[in-house]
């Protein structure tokens, strides 16, 4: 490990701004996704890459919660814009939008579909990080856990 220190220094120095930029890019993609290429799925993937970089290079978890926890939360959040219109007698997933005028920012279009997108975002981040973490676990330990090792 010690001979890799120098290399790691480069990585760590560069990783910090890259993680920052990736997260920013992710949220930008999420934001523009309503009418332009982007959206919750691709933003989730980008943020997952940022989290992965933070996890591998900086060796510190990006999130305080276990990524598996994000799955049900994202699914529930995704259900909200589907079910709420039904409570008002509208069709499932019927989306609505409107305009708000905020001081300084000016006119601003909101859409209820963004909640669904946020759910997708959480699910994608959760799934990607869960898969990577499971793959990154000690393989032999995993095999012993399911009782499939022949010998050492």
């Amino acid at each position: 490990m010690t001979d890799k220190r120098g290399l790691e220094l480069y990585f760590q120095t560069f990783a910090r701004p890259v993680v920052f930029v990736l997260v920013f890019l992710g949220f930008h993609l999420f934001w523009r996704g309503h009418n332009a290429p982007g959206g919750g799925f691709i933003a989730g993937l980008v943020v997952a890459v940022a989290a992965l970089l933070s996890r591998i290079v900086l060796d510190r978890p990006f999130l305080n919660v276990a990524p598996q926890r994000l799955l049900p939360l994202g699914l529930l959040l995704g259900l909200v814009p589907g079910v709420v219109p039904m409570l008002f007698g509208e069709a499932f997933l019927k989306s609505t939008y409107g305009y708000l005028t905020w001081p300084l920012i000016g006119e601003f279009e909101w859409a209820s579909a963004v909640v669904f997108d946020a759910g997708v975002f959480l699910v994608v981040v959760g799934v990607t990080l869960t898969i990577i973490e499971l793959l990154a676990e000690d393989t032999d330990a995993g095999l012993v856990a399911i009782g499939e090792t022949e010998d050492a």
Binding site: Q68, L75, L76, L79, M86, A91, F92, L93, I146, E148
Partner: protein, 514 residues
């Protein structure tokens, strides 16, 4: 214009999909196994109630339609419920509830080490209950959807859940059979997407009713035949029709008992449902294809029955019997005998579920094998199980007075009535295979229930599993007793299927077609 059609949206149609999704999501959040059992059962029960509501409404002859997101038919995704959907939802709801209860109850039994795959606590913790809910969601969605691509998505939801259920536990047989299952289904899915793409290119729509409405414009186009052929291939693979069904008989026995029962009873029948839709809605013609499928179905029956005779393990035998059962269904739908097919479909779901849940119990008693002389004579200790087995074995073979006889009789009657050498041959095979299935089922009877009572120790069987098995057997008996009304219902649904114009006009009203 789209406004007034939004008003008549029947939002209940989304519930058989949403409730399992919501239930499965909650199950991921709950930490205690007892809590998971309760929530899972509640979700399955609510799903069944919603399915019942839809089924009762649809049996009166109306076609219920809801446009998701309020987007009108050819552009958005439509959920449609006609009589066939009602029947299927009812079946999946009932078996889904029974599966969830059976699975939760089988946890009370401490799993034996290795050997038979019962649902162990470790597997339960890894998410089997949640995956069961997602499976139910995919199954219900495929029955409800009126959109070809959404049908593909439902198949994928179903498949991904079933991959998980098949592989959780990671034992060697699971990995071996899971590999085959995943590869076959991936290939089938790829073909499905390709066929959907071709259909979109040709028709400019993926809404099944809209495609059906545009079929006249392209009649005689060989591309239609190609698309139908590809779709039939995919659905036949899902339904395990010979020769695409080689993945089934050895993969169903490796999943936990309850899951295996649901796989056998419902999952295979999703393919049959899709074939029924394909042949009634999208291809009223195509006689050559139907005759080809009829030959394959006959071979499927034969392979299933012969395979069942050759097996010496409970669930392997039943998996082959399930293949034969699918053969009867495909034989019925490809020869145009829709009402017998529908009746036999109900029968097949119930009988396969009953037998698989019996197999789960038998594995607790004596392991998965039978007739090897180690453990027999269980009739004295479990007389009720013996009775349920006796009835369901007769039903499987198709002997009177069970529902299997009524279904097969109606089927053979239609086959012989329509004449032709092919159909006469098919009906001979159908009857002869019934005898083979009887012989196979007798093997279990002789090797497990009959004989001298020599078992020293019998484990206590979980009450929930026993009740579910008894209830499934009871439903099977009810199906025979109430065969008059049920068959009348099947005939009504068949008439509705034979007139797709009604379905089409409900989904895409005349004036709307661009």
């Amino acid at each position: 214009m789209p406004r007034d059609r939004c008003e008549e949206a029947v939002n209940v149609l989304t519930l058989p999909v949403l409730l399992p999704l919501f239930g499965g999501t909650l199950l991921l959040l709950i930490k205690r196994p007892q809590g998971r059992a309760g929530v899972g059962t509640a979700a399955a029960l609510l799903t069944l109630l919603a399915s019942c509501w839809i089924a009762v409404r649809s049996f009166s002859g109306t076609v219920l339609v809801t446009q998701l997101g309020g987007w009108p038919a050819p552009y958005g995704i439509t959920l449609v419920a006609d009589g066939l959907t009602g029947v299927m939802l009812l079946l999946s709801g009932v078996t889904g509830l029974m599966t969830v209860i059976y699975a939760a109850s089988s946890l009370q039994h401490a799993p034996r080490r290795g050997g038979t795959p019962v649902l162990s606590r470790a597997r339960e913790r890894l998410g089997t209950p949640a995956l069961l809910q997602f499976l139910l969601m995919g199954v219900n969605m495929s029955f409800l959807t009126g959109d070809l691509f959404n049908l593909f998505v439902s198949f994928e939801v179903m498949l991904v859940a079933s991959y998980g259920l098949l592989l959780i536990g990671g034992e060697l047989p699971q990995l071996r059979e899971g590999f085959k299952y995943v590869v076959v289904n991936l290939v089938a899915s790829a073909i499905f997407v390709a066929a959907a793409g071709l259909a979109y290119g040709l028709f400019g729509t993926l809404n099944m009713a809209d495609i059906a409405a545009r079929l006249q414009d392209v009649s005689g186009d060989p591309r239609v035949t190609l698309i139908v052929l590809l779709l039939a291939l995919v659905f036949a693979t899902k339904a395990a029709v010979f020769p695409f069904g080689f993945w089934l008989p050895y993969s169903y026995p490796v999943v936990p008992g309850a899951v295996g029962a649901f796989f056998g009873a419902v999952l295979t029948k999703v393919g049959v449902y899709a074939l029924l839709r394909l042949f009634t809605l999208l291809t009223p013609g195509e006689t050559a294809l139907k005759n080809g499928l009829l030959i394959l179905a006959t071979l499927t029956i034969l392979i299933g029955a012969l395979g069942a005779v050759s097996q010496r393990r409970w669930r392997h035998l039943l998996a082959f019997a399930n293949v034969a059962s699918v053969g009867y269904l495909v034989l019925g739908l490809s020869s145009g005998a829709l009402a017998p097919t529908l009746y036999y479909l109900i029968h097949s779901v119930l009988v396969i579920f009953t037998l698989f849940s019996l197999a789960g119990l038998a594995e607790l008693v004596a392991g998965g094998r039978f007739g090897d002389g180690h453990s027999e004579g269980h009739l004295g200790a479990y007389p009720l199980l013996g009775a349920v087995y006796f009835v369901s074995a007769l039903a499987l073979a198709g002997l009177p007075p069970t529902s299997g006889f009524i279904g097969k009789f109606a089927l053979v009657q239609v086959l012989l009535g329509s004449g032709g050498l092919l159909r006469v041959f098919a009906s001979v095979v159908a009857v002869a295979s019934g005898l083979l299935l009887l012989y196979a089922a007798m093997g279990i009877w002789r090797g497990f229930f009959w004989g001298a009572d020599d078992a020293v120790h019998r484990p206590p069987l979980p009450k929930g599993m026993l009740r579910v098995t008894g209830a499934a057997g009871g439903l099977l008996v009810m199906l025979a007793i109430a065969s008059g009304p049920v068959y009348a219902l099947a005939e009504r649904v068949a008439v509705q299927l034979e007139r797709p114009a009604d379905y089409i006009s409900h989904v895409v009203p005349e004036g709307d077609a661009p």
